[in-house]
Symmetry: C2
Subunit: 385 residues, 2 copies
């Protein structure tokens, strides 16, 4: 079950106010009488506590899924494909299990510097498979078009889907197109992609494999997707040279899995940013993480834009960044594997896992101080993926 | 590639008027200068000629997919699972290829007599797999919730998804939840489901297998889904005892495949109704079809509602009806297989395939006359699935 993707509000929008409750009620679940008037608010999609509760209590648990940390996809052990790729490489590995994932994309605007909703929909699902250690085999494409969308816009998005699919080696094999009544201005679209991948024979990933002493790597500059989208949002727009980092990452991921390093866990740092992924790791493992601000790749343009908007680059969405947790012994090799292609030119070792209670993510600042990095509540950003 | 699902307008809504063109222009593609102002209209989702052109010319062809009739899903021969079901039945068949399909659901209202968008989303994808001759193995669930939706509504829809998934033997294994800004009243939701199924060992289905002499069967009463949804649409509502027929059909489909009849083709008769499926068969095969009005299962309630609304029950959407084309030799056995369970109590042989030019669907009326049944243009119905 993919973690709920973070959908938040634009700065300046009023926050939805929870109904006042007495102290005794504050932490209890709503009574039936309360519940029928409770409504979904944008923060339910914000990736924070409200999202986690909604997905865990009202969706996942009721669909008969096992409890536990949500991942970007599911391993289907009874289903398989031969690992061999189109060139026949890897055939000796025999049949490998499949991975299945899905994601919907509702970004506004549908085109932004460095990408568009079509590229996002393909790259996002490819990256969810990659983070599970799986090579993409097939993508489904569900288009929901809003009445009034120009055919030219549709053409550009479809061309972008085709190009990204080609780049990622992930063919779109099945699809569906719907049209809904116009409601927004300008009219847009929503896209759902589901993906089937085949598990890399060397992939042995899991939050349960993360250990004290492991090293945290990331493949480049933070926050560029979220800030690039923000720069085009109505009411927020600003001039910047920033471009979204949206990019399919299977090629890089494969290099990493084959470099000889012991890779323990990967996740793409989308909504919630790096901070969200690191908080999830600490929550699930009971271990702590220390990251070093001097080593964090943040471009001057991203730093400037984040400062202007009062945002923390650690909490802003990326769409081409993979957080990798690897055993210390092979970390240098892993870093070289990330850097060996265009997806990882600015890859860096940014921190390490250690044993300390309570489990926390701490940032060692440029000045040598320490601050705790929290999971964003989900109110910092407008919807950006 | 799933055929585009039909999205149309409510009776009384103004039709979008195409720009006037000169006679010479009428059948030509738009020039670049025209195209940039062309916009998506609801009829692009209506399942008619406009939909076919949009999907074929602007989407499928640009994604590098082969031309040809679109089916409800795609067969992935390199991917496989053992056919054996949870009870171990069928293990001797060994590994079988997988089928992959996707569909988005945008019905308004989200709850209607006999069902809701959640049941629709699970049954619809299960039925697309079933029509391809595949047993459902795994479903993905992409929820797009509109701000303002009550938590009680969400709870009911999720419970319905869980119940339908259980009924269909199709577990929801991965998912994603997004929240979008409120735009409609009442606030609703969209759902995408993708499904993976395993091909039944006896499944040998295809439009190329349809032959003159084949018999057409359907598993029960027509038009009940579309009319039940219409009965609750704002501005159209009327009192009726009709309930949607939305129902997962894998169990019935399996009985059919295992009954010994030679099954040549199946498709669920959703938007576009029976008329749309039969027109697709004629278009693809170059054969003609004759159906007998006396044998068409249409309940008195459905007939009355369709008459009141001026709709043809043949063109109204179903969500639990499978059109089956079988060899004449085993047709009686096939009919018995359909009738052997609750999905097919009112199953009937309704017509036959024959060789006649031009390829047409003809209805032999109650009075003994003949009328040509056309693919609905897609303007007859409000959005109903």
């Amino acid at each position: 079950m993919t973690r709920a993707k973070r959908r938040t509000r634009a700065p300046g929008q009023a926050l939805p106010q929870p109904r006042a409750r007495t102290g005794a009620e504050r932490d209890s679940s709503p009574t039936p009488a309360e519940r029928h008037v409770e409504r979904i608010v944008l923060a339910h999609g914000g990736g924070g506590e409200l999202t986690n509760r909604l997905v865990a209590e009202r969706i996942v648990s009721r669909l008969g899924r096992p409890a536990g940390p949500l991942t970007d996809g599911v391993l289907l052990r009874a289903l398989s494909a031969t690992w061999a790729d189109a060139k026949g490489n890897g055939g000796a590995a025999g049949r490998q299990p499949l991975v299945f994932t899905t994601d919907s994309y509702v970004v506004t605007p549908i085109e932004f510097p460095g990408g568009d909703i079509g590229r996002l929909a393909v790259a996002g699902t490819v990256n969810d498979l990659a983070a599970m250690g799986a090579r993409p085999l097939a993508i489904s494409l569900g288009l929901i078009l809003e009445e009034g969308l120009t055919v030219d816009s549709l053409d550009r998005i479809v061309a972008s889907i085709a190009a990204t699919s080609e780049q990622a080696g992930a063919p779109v094999v099945t699809g569906d197109t719907k049209v809904i009544e116009r409601r927004g201005d300008p009219p847009g679209m929503f896209i759902n992609t589901a993906g089937i991948g085949v598990l890399h024979p060397r992939s042995q990933l899991g939050l349960d494999r993360v250990e004290a002493g492991d090293v945290i790597l990331i493949n480049g500059g933070l926050a560029e997707h979220g800030l690039a989208v923000l720069s085009r949002r109505a009411g927020i727009g600003f001039e910047t040279t920033l471009r979204s980092d949206v990019m399919p990452l299977w090629g890089m991921t494969r290099r990493l899995l084959e470099c000889g390093a012991s890779v323990h866990f990967m996740r793409d740092a989308t909504r919630g940013g790096l901070a969200g992924v690191l908080a999830d790791i600490c929550d699930a493992t009971g271990l702590s993480i220390e990251i070093d601000e001097r080593r964090l790749p943040v471009s001057p343009a991203a730093r400037g834009a984040a400062e202007m908007l009062g945002l923390d680059p650690l909490a802003v969405a990326n769409e081409g960044k993979l957080v990798c947790v690897v055993a210390a012994a092979g970390a240098t090799r892993a870093l070289a594997a990330l850097r060996a292609g265009p997806e990882g030119t600015h890859a860096a070792m940014i921190g390490r896992v250690h044993r300390a209670a309570p489990p926390l993510v701490e940032l060692v600042t440029l000045g040598g101080g320490r601050r705790i990095v929290q999971r964003p509540y989900g109110e910092d950003l407008p919807r950006i993926c």
